[in-house]
Amino acid sequence: MPEPVAISRPAQAAMPSSAGDILPLRAEALSFEAGGRRLVDAVDLDLGPGTRTIVMGPNGAGKSLLLRLLHGLIRPSGGRVLWNGRPADAAVLRRQAMVFQHPVLLRRSVSANIAYALKVRRLPVAERRARVADMLELANLEALAHAPARVLSGGEQQRLALARALATRPEILFLDEPTSSLDPAATAAIERIVWEAADRGTKIVMVTHDIGQARRLADEIVFMHRGRVAERSAAFRFFQAPVSAPAADFLSGKLVL
């Protein structure tokens, strides 16, 4: 279904996942300040379609802020974010999704949580139903479809949050340490879904602290340190021979401050 999203009609419902409309994503001199401190410092970044980009770095390096700036949740103090050459608008926001460290689930059933994201995008009811069923299967949550979302386990909640994000068939998916409080089995389930999404053509931009996870998922690594991009390398190169000193320290297990 090679039907592009009509830019002039952002309420358009049909959204194939294949059309590359909003990428590449480009950050230009992107900065964010709070309380007199520069938390994200003049970041320039180009993110094209197709690859799984993993953002790493110590606490306070500005990884989560960078994700929020790119996604448009917070306004930059300086610089700008361009989507295929233009600033974000409603149509661009509709083609993105984000999964947070702590899933925020609505006080409704599991399937209603997924349906909600589609209802917001004014999808027809039949289409909603089909996609909800797809996503329940993808996240292995069919048996819990009618359970209240807030009683799920941590791993199930995060799977649901991920399924809800993917239900909208985003062109780019941001993930902010989605597995940081999950056990290995739950983490594996999340990683499998992320893999599948990437295989279907969704651009992945994921923050993680977990070096093992980065090795498993990354095509490329963006390493942040003190609000700046210290290094950006293909994953195999990064793990063999990181170029920047902070990244080398981080990988060798030294405490990077």
């Binding site: 949740l73 209240p148 807030r150």
Partner: protein, 235 residues
């Protein structure tokens, strides 16, 4: 103390025999106060939610005002509604004074700020939790209001109960705009005030017990309607 024993007996007898006069008064009380809460919810829920979600100049002042209006003295509201509805008043042509409708209007005015202020608080808290997620999903403020109201439904039921408690218990407003006319505008509280002034303390006290029972009953009913699923969904 003798009054208490007599009052209990009398209250029991009135309930047991389903005394026609009592049933009439109870039904009118419920009708007036439940209608008032329904109208107040229609205004107060959206108003409170919009105050919680949107940002505009004067919002802080408006919140202070709504919070302050929670403590409106019923007699003052009664007087204002009386002036509005009296023959010489702006709404005099409607001839609503000394009708149950007038009592409903007065109680709705009393209850609306309570529901609006409590809704604002509840939705504000929930909005803090949902804000980033909703914006990430591309939800505009208008849809966010509906989402937050629905997801806060359990807490909002409590806000409405607070409003109902206020309405069913107040006497100052309904006695001014209703006039405590037998078989027309006599409700529990005005009947208690009347019997007390007549010196029939046992009957007044008996009516008081029944009024408390009524309030407890409505609360229990609402609690029962909040089934286990809903409770679980709040976890």
């Amino acid at each position: 103390m003798q009054d208490f024993a007599a009052a209990f007996g009398l209250a029991f007898r009135l309930i047991a025999t389903a005394d026609a006069g009592l049933v009439e008064i109870v039904l009118l009380s419920l009708r007036v106060s439940l209608s008032a809460v329904a109208i107040a919810a229609l205004v107060g829920l959206p108003l409170g939610a919009v105050l919680a979600v949107t940002r505009f100049p004067g919002r802080g002042a408006l919140i202070v005002l709504v919070n302050a209006l929670m403590g409106l003295p019923p007699v003052v509201v009664g007087l204002l509604v009386y002036l509005l509805l009296s023959r010489a008043g702006p709404l005099g042509v409607l001839e609503l004074l000394y009708t149950p409708t007038a009592m409903t209007i007065a109680q709705a005015v009393l209850v609306t700020p309570i529901i609006a202020a409590l809704t604002r608080q509840v939705v504000d808290d929930l909005h803090r939790e949902y804000d980033e997620q909703l914006r990430s999903l591309g939800v505009g403020w208008y849809d966010a209001v509906g989402t937050l109201l629905w997801d806060a439904r359990a807490s909002l039921a409590t806000a409405m109960l607070a409003g109902f408690g206020r309405a069913i218990a107040e006497v100052g407003a309904v006695i001014i705009v209703g006039g405590n006319i037998a078989h027309v505008t006599r409700v529990m509280t005005t009947a208690i005030a009347l019997e007390t002034s007549k010196g029939d303390l046992a009957l007044a006290l008996a009516l008081g017990f029944i009024l408390i029972l009524l309030a407890v009953g409505v609360n229990a009913l609402v609690m029962a309607l909040r089934d286990h699923r809903l409770e679980a969904a709040r976890a």
